[in-house]
């Protein structure tokens, strides 16, 4: 990248005279939402042509800061300089014009468009589409070659694997001449192998002079790829370091503000009887396709069985079937001796009767009604329970007493049972749901993504709760896309791929790399030869 013309304008720069101005310089950024100060006096300097990591717990202000940089929000105070020039970014169009591209955590792609159509969307020129398609195709080919980002331009986006879709997102940004690329939690949906490939792409982009900001909560990734790293906590920047000079432990401590102990599973065995048994279970989708195909598994009392897999391979459906939300098409489920088959009609309430608790994957859309208050969220699913009712009306006193107890025991903040559930942070919402489900001493716990979007402090707490529950003899089936979590907690690990269980590993014998290959269903001896580099 050529910055020579801009050096003149950045005379005030404190940077050494010969070096180019930083790609991004944020000074004294402040942003409040009502009483909450999301960013407080935040400074950030990102040198051109580097990969800069930003880490922080959920709610630390990373997303707000990036939203300010990408023009979703305007800062209350502070200045932004892009490549040494003051910039006013008040919309995403302005950000794109300033050369900033963003790859969102959830892809912004039109599923039934081709790759080419997605890339050029919104950047078409002229009245007729034909001309811009030709131009776009040429430019896309150039970009693909320059950055070795190969995607078939005519493939339907929906048909591409997630890793490739992410490439399309990156190409979209580059197509709009982005010299600065922001990636928000880019590895959340990727297998370890796909992550590896993404990192290769990112390094080659860096070599071509692209500046990259990587937002993540996975410290291992920060260590693996970034040049510099900034740590945020409670809306403030608490540290800027060179990645080579720091360590995972130091970063974790900076993020949380205290020492963190890694989750460890007690190796003691508590195995009891089989509580949950699934035989030949299949679930058909609306088009007759099989979402789950001949699943067999069992979970014993005192055991955590982890389901590993890239998201979208049937985990959600498995959780829904086992918790009574979705009917099964074939096979049977046995819980504490009670059988459920396709012809039986049952729902989530029947499962709860059998002491099956369920912590769903999506706490916003499934686990609670966010428009309701905390005390109302604490009785969802148990609202018919006699302890909450007096005659035909709710026993307000009893419900509130219990709500206050649970909020205290599970350290849910803010500790007000009247607060609207939507106004609580993700970690606290998750604690609220766990409090509700765990407090009923379930015999079977179905749990999906127990710590997704939850800060480190809460992760420790939640893992602790799951371990305690296991010791008390609960049978736990856990689905998580976080391999570290599956590895840390599970007694046994089942790998799910395309609706089938493709492998089973003992928790003590599993490692990330083999699990990763299994998750991509590439673990046959023959194909693993081809992927030697990864193994």
């Amino acid at each position: 990248m050529n910055h020579s013309s801009q050096i003149v304008e950045s005379a005030e720069q404190t940077v050494a005279e010969m070096s180019p101005p930083p790609a991004i310089e944020l000074r004294n950024i402040n942003k409040s939402f009502g009483a909450v100060q999301a960013n407080r006096n935040v400074d950030l300097i990102v040198q051109a042509g580097t990969i800069h990591g930003i880490v922080g717990e959920n709610g630390a202000g990373k997303s707000t800061l990036m939203s300010i940089l990408y023009g979703f929000y305007e800062a209350d105070e502070g200045s932004i300089q892009i490549n040494g020039k003051p910039a006013r970014i008040n919309s995403s169009q302005a950000a794109i014009a300033a050369g900033i591209g963003m790859v969102h955590q959830h892809f912004m792609l039109v599923a039934n468009f081709s790759v080419l159509e997605n890339v050029m969307m919104g950047a078409e020129k002229g009245f007729l589409l034909k001309n811009s398609i030709g131009q776009a195709r040429r430019k896309l080919r150039e970009l693909s070659e320059n950055y070795s980002l190969h995607v078939d331009p005519d493939a339907l986006t929906d048909d591409l694997p997630v890793g490739q879709q992410q490439r399309v997102e990156i190409l979209k940004a580059l197509f709009r001449s982005a010299g600065i690329l922001i990636l928000d939690e880019p590895t959340g949906v990727l297998t370890p192998q796909e992550t590896e490939q993404l990192f290769k792409i990112l390094s080659s982009l860096r070599d071509e002079g692209v500046t990259i900001i990587l937002i993540t909560h996975k410290l291992r990734e920060i260590m693996a790829i970034t040049d510099n790293v900034s740590v945020m906590r409670d809306g403030e920047m608490v540290a800027h370091c060179q990645t080579a000079e720091t360590s995972t432990a130091e970063l974790a401590e900076l993020m949380v503000g205290r020492k963190v102990s890694a989750a460890t599973r007690s190796r003691e065995q508590f195995l009891g009887d089989i509580r949950l048994k699934v035989e030949n279970l299949s679930v058909a989708g609306s088009l007759g396709n099989k979402l789950l195909d001949d699943i067999n598994l069992e979970v014993r009392s005192g055991e955590i069985v982890g389901i590993a897999g890239v998201s979208g391979n049937g985990q959600s459906e498995l959780l829904e079937v086992l918790s009574g939300i979705r009917p099964l098409s074939q096979g049977q489920i046995t819980i504490n001796g009670q059988q459920f088959k396709a012809e039986d009609s049952y729902n989530a309430a029947d499962m709860r009767e059998l002491k099956v608790a369920h912590v769903p994957e999506d706490r916003h859309r499934t686990g609670m009604v966010t428009a309701m208050s905390a005390w109302e969220s604490l009785i969802l699913g148990y609202h018919h329970d006699s302890r909450y009712n007096k005659g035909i009306l709710f026993d307000q006193a009893a419900i509130h007493e219990e709500a206050e107890r649970l909020i205290k025991e599970f350290d849910v903040r803010p500790g007000d049972p009247e607060i609207k559930s939507a106004n609580m942070s993700g970690g606290n919402q998750q604690k609220l749901i766990l409090a509700r489900e765990i407090d009923k001493s379930p015999e079977v716990l179905i749990v999906g993504q127990p710590t997704r979007g939850v800060d480190i402090g809460a992760i420790e707490f939640i893992h602790g709760q799951l371990n305690q529950l296991r010791q008390r003899g609960c049978a736990i089936l856990m689905v998580s896309v976080e391999l570290d979590e599956v590895l840390a907690l599970s007694d046994r690990i089942l790998v799910i791929f395309d609706g089938r269980i493709v492998a089973e590993v003992n928790g003590n014998e599993a490692d990330t790399m083999t699990l990763g290959l299994m998750m991509a269903n590439a673990h046959e001896p023959r194909s693993s030869q081809n992927l030697k580099g990864d193994a």
């Binding site: 939402f33 009502g34 979703f72 929000y73 919309s91 918790s323 009574g324 939300i325 729902n347 989530a348 309430a349 029947d350 499962m351 709860r352 369920h358 769903p360 859309r365 499934t366 686990g367 609670m368 009604v369 966010t370 428009a371 309701m372 109302e376 009785i379 969802l380 699913g381 609202h383 018919h384 909450y388 009712n389 035909i392 009306l393 709710f394 307000q396």
Partner: protein, 365 residues
Amino acid sequence: MSDLLQPLPRWIDVGVIPVLNVSMAMIVSSILLLVVGIEPVEAVTIMLHGAFGYDEGIGYTLYYATNFVFTGLAVAIAFHAGLFNIGGEGQAYIGGLGVGLAMLLLDSSMPAFLLLPIALIMAALFGGAWALIPAYLQAYRGSHIVITTIMFNFIASAIMVYLMVNVLIMPGQQSPQTREFAESAQLPFMHEVFAWFGVNISQSPLNLSIVWAVICCIGLWLFIWRSRWGYETRAVGFNEKAAVYGGINPKRVVLISMCISGALAGFVGFNEISGVHHRLILNFTAGYGFTGIAVSLMGRNHPVGIVLASLLFGMLYQGGAELAFEVPTVTREMVVAIQGFVILFSGALAYMSTPFLTRLYNRWK
């Protein structure tokens, strides 16, 4: 970029916006009045006096408000379940039919203390049943409830005309109405009730059903916010996925909430047939069912808000009638137009000013 702004606090939502909406309706109405050469301030004074200035006016205002409370609550309960019940009009009509049929059959053989509860139950049963059909079609057949309830209004109207003209009409009569019920089937007027205690007030159609309206308000509040079924209703209305997760059957919630909704609308029939006309007639619903939508929207689907909105609309109906009577240049149609403006601004356009107010609030804060 409206998603970045803080939502409006509750006091603006339930306090400022309704006042603003009514003011806008008043401004537009004033222009209309000025065009035909009437001083708007004078017109408002006449309306207010007509509605609240003397006991007969108050009686009429409260009588109208009673109907609006029933239909407003009917819209509200459906709304909490995420349903838009446009069929209040038809449900009220059929509710009234139920009352009329029962009274015509039974009034010669039963005392008042049995007849009046039976009338109440029939209003609820018939109104509820009329709402149950669209509810079933929505829950189990996927027919949109807005479409079916509208159609059921037309069906109700056609049935009533057929029955009144061909079956129920009093023999030897030209106008399509039934015979008058026996005294024991007539719900006492409030002026009669006051007279029992030796208090004399002017005659008005206001009858004991206003007491039932108040009971319905309290009952519905308890149901929605203090009972497990109301909890299920709101859960389905807010987020059906979470409701299913919580073991709630959304289909059942649709059926139950629509039945309650229809029953509440049916009580308009109780007020009109048992309380006022004492016989079945055509078109006694007079648009109360539709106005109930505006009442509920304005009252933010809360019983307290609905009572306040009902009083406002009661005032508009009664004060408007007074205005048409007092000022010869104001025709009946102009009064309807003014009512229409209030319904338009506080019903259909209820949230028109929200984006503007939100921006203003965020800047000012």
